[in-house]
């Protein structure tokens, strides 16, 4: 238990570090698509909603709240990627 937690923490630090290193080099021109792309990625919290949905039990209220989370996260993911695609399409055509 202890070891897994430390490992998880290590992964967290490594991921943050990689994220920081990769993004530091991104030119200003791409700040908006980066932002809307990473915004879409933050909708990955959908996974948590999927994991807990079968386990909410009898409570209707909790079920509704998980459904709201699912709706929000899906909107975030699908809308975010779709709009990022639109933005990047504009950068592609004058390549």
């Amino acid at each position: 238990m202890e070891a897994t937690f430390l490992l998880t923490l290590l992964i967290t630090f490594l991921a943050s570090f990689i994220g920081y290193e990769l993004i530091s080099k991104i030119p200003q021109t791409l700040h908006t698509p980066l932002m809307s792309g990473s915004n879409a990625i933050s909708g990955i919290t959908l996974i948590a909603a999927i994991l807990i949905y079968p386990e909410v039990g009898e409570s209707q209220l909790l079920k509704i709240i998980v459904l709201i989370a699912i709706a929000f996260a899906t909107l975030n993911i699908v809308g975010g990627f779709s709009v990022t695609g639109r933005i990047l399409e504009m950068f592609k055509k004058n390549d």
Binding site: A15, P33, G37, S38, N39, A49, L75, G79, I87, K92
Partner: protein, 443 residues
């Protein structure tokens, strides 16, 4: 099997971020990220799709369709609002999940802390983002600052509550309420031109909320992706702050600008006409255009493109100088220019173009103000002192297209406007440009 899918997904997310680094590969980055997301979501089902009822699937499909619909309809000038809105949804989702985990299960104390943290950050991101969207739409003006300061002290202490009190539903709901109000008030006190920082910061928070949700449900991929988003958001936040020579705390404190420190001009500006500008431009060899928020408000991108074409046809060199905080989100101006097919090779950053202004014939300042205010270099008492600016005053001639002499966000006069080499074309950005283009036909 699931582990392998998740490994591939994590690697794809990291590759996607790397590909985002160059305009030529960025469109592939989005495909990679989408693929990574699809794999991650798929893995969450653990090959058992029968555990989920029809309400679940209908919710996913309906909100997915709604997302596509919204994203296709929105205009490029509304991009900051849209990113803010989606961001709020992401944060809200994480907050809701944390709430369900807190009230539905008896979690170990360490998880209770993480869950409360995730809930507070998520809910704060949700309400803060919605307020940011309202501010961006001009629906909300500045707010009582003292109230916000009280709340900001209150918020961190909330997270410590489980250390002293037994959690019950009422307490959880109280915490949600505080986080909601804190998000609203905190963003409400921050002025519109600081929105690039706010949007980037909220973006980072939504990643952090997702990451901590990953800790509660033990999902490595959620932690990895959340951390990547958190880190990228923080970088953009700090970049935006550096571009204004202010700290994040200072920006979040709000109440910047709007005070008339020095609004007086000791002489009248030289005003000019579209015809004169056209003549002046036709004799130039090099032109630099400095777009600002005014260009976005007036939807003047198409007119900018037309003027650029006109000038290029006359073999005049045209470049764009873009300040990092121009507009309402990081990279806002670049996207608007890309929308009208302006080559990103022609868009220059502050560092790349500042040395060139002294050899530029004509600079057109289009709806920008504080980012070209020379007081940032000279006046130590000015609120913008030390902020890196575009040194347009060093150019041979400067034309400022602006509706009036009113100050920018910082609320201070801009001596550039009364400089000997500067002329004012009093017009809305779009209308001004269109009149110049028309005059070209007569020159």
């Amino acid at each position: 099997m699931i582990e392998i899918i998740l490994l591939v997904s994590s690697v794809l997310f990291i590759f996607a971020l790397k590909l985002f680094g160059r305009p030529s590969t960025a469109h592939r980055a989005n495909t990679f990220a989408m693929l990574a997301m699809a794999l991650a979501v798929f893995s969450a089902f653990n090959f058992d799709f029968s555990k989920y009822d029809s309400t679940f699937y209908i919710t996913i499909v309906a909100s997915g369709l709604l997302g596509v619909l919204i994203s296709k309809r929105v205009q490029m000038t509304q991009m900051p609002e849209l990113v803010g809105l989606f961001n709020g949804f992401g944060g809200g989702a994480s907050g809701a999940i944390a709430y369900v985990e807190l009230s539905g299960n008896s979690l170990p104390l360490s998880d209770v802390f993480v869950a409360i943290f995730s809930m507070v950050v998520g809910v704060f991101t949700f309400s803060g983002s919605l307020v940011a969207v309202m501010k961006l739409r001009g629906k909300l003006n500045n707010f009582n600052k003292k109230l916000a300061d009280i709340f900001s002290v209150f918020l961190p202490t909330i997270i410590l509550i489980p250390a002293v009190l037994e959690m019950d539903d009422l307490l959880i709901e109280f915490i949600i309420l505080v986080a909601l109000i804190a998000g609203i008030i905190r963003v409400a006190v921050i002025g519109g031109a600081d929105m690039p920082v706010v949007i980037a910061f909220l973006n980072s928070l939504s990643g952090i909320a997702a990451m901590s949700a990953g800790f509660i449900v033990n999902s490595i991929i959620l932690i990895v992706a959340g951390a990547l988003v958190g880190a990228s958001g923080i970088i953009l936040t700090l970049l935006m702050c550096a571009a204004m020579n202010r700290t994040l705390v200072d920006v979040l404190k709000g109440g910047f600008g709007g005070t008339d420190v020095n609004n007086e001009y000791d002489k009248d500006p030289i005003s000019t006409s579209p015809e004169d500008v056209a003549i002046q431009l036709s004799y130039a060899e090099s032109v630099v255009i400095v777009p600002g928020y005014g260009m976005a408000v007036a939807q003047a991108q198409a007119a900018v493109k037309e003027l650029t074409n006109t000038l290029k046809d006359k073999n005049i060199e045209v470049k764009f100088a873009i300040h990092p905080v121009a507009g309402r989100m990081p990279g806002h101006m670049n996207v608007l220019l890309a929308e009208v097919d302006i080559d990103y090779e022609d868009m220059y950053t502050l560092e790349d173009i500042n040395s060139e202004f002294s050899s530029t014939d004509v600079v057109i300042v289009l709806g920008a103000n504080d980012v070209v205010n020379p007081l940032a270099r000279t006046d130590e008492d000015s609120p913008i002192y030390g902020m890196p600016i575009l040194d347009v005053d060093l150019a041979n001639q400067v034309i400022v297209i602006k509706r009036s002499m009113s100050p920018g966000y910082a609320g201070i006069a801009n001596p550039l406007f009364i400089n000997d080499n500067a002329k004012m074309l009093f017009a809305d950005a779009k209308e001004g440009l269109e009149n110049i283009i028309k005059s070209f036909e007569l020159v």
